[in-house]
Amino acid sequence: DARVTQTPRHKVTEMGQEVTMRCQPILGHNTVFWYRQTMMQGLELLAYFRNRAPLDDSGMPKDRFSAEMPDATLATLKIQPSEPRDSAVYFCASGSTYEQYFGPGTRLTVT
């Protein structure tokens, strides 16, 4: 039963701290997406990669967010420094444009 995994599932941190979220895409999927869900904006695309290369990160605040794929089995999303407005659920998804499989999300709370 292949699925996208994300760690941690929950993260509470103080403003100014670095946060790293990790995602393991489904084996064989060459496209990985990072989304953020908030009450006001719904699901927003932050960035996506194809064959480990970043294709679009226009949805990400560049000054504090960074996304990478060190290898085909790991995608990371970092926030440094974190701010209370970053509190949200962050989802990773893998698959194709037309068929995306989402992970369970990381619920981030920045106090």
């Binding site: 695309l45 996506y48 194809r50 444009t97 037309y98 369970p104 999300g105």
Partner: protein, 113 residues
């Protein structure tokens, strides 16, 4: 600039009745539309999709209707079941947003027994 809008934050329906979830879009370049369903503490899961060359797609109890002239789509669930209670997201693809899904804000559906 919300290109995909779900104007009803919530919908409550009796079990066995029809649930109709609505979605409007503004970008005429969108050519493929999807509905995702999300339970609490889980990621969204794909439900049903429709290409802009069609006006209807059916899969069991779920039917999606597309009205291109009105830039409107809807998801019908018949009959509704308590297990359908979830958040439903409408999403769109196409044009310069190739490769990127643009999501609506979601509608919380509650089906009462």
């Amino acid at each position: 600039d919300q290109q995909v809008k779900q104007n009803s934050p919530s919908l409550s329906v009796q079990e066995g009745r029809i649930s109709i979830l609505n979605c409007d879009y503004t970008n005429s370049m969108f050519d493929y539309f999807l509905w995702y369903k999300k339970y609490p503490a889980e990621g969204p899961t794909f439900l049903i999709s429709i290409s802009s060359i069609k006006d209807k797609n059916e899969d069991g109890r779920f039917t999606v209707f597309l009205n291109k002239s009105a830039k409107h789509l809807s998801l019908h669930i018949v009959p509704s079941q308590p297990g359908d209670s979830a958040v439903y997201f409408c999403a769109a693809l196409g044009g310069t947003s190739y490769g990127k899904l643009t999501f609506g804000q979601g509608t919380i559906l509650t089906v009462h027994p």
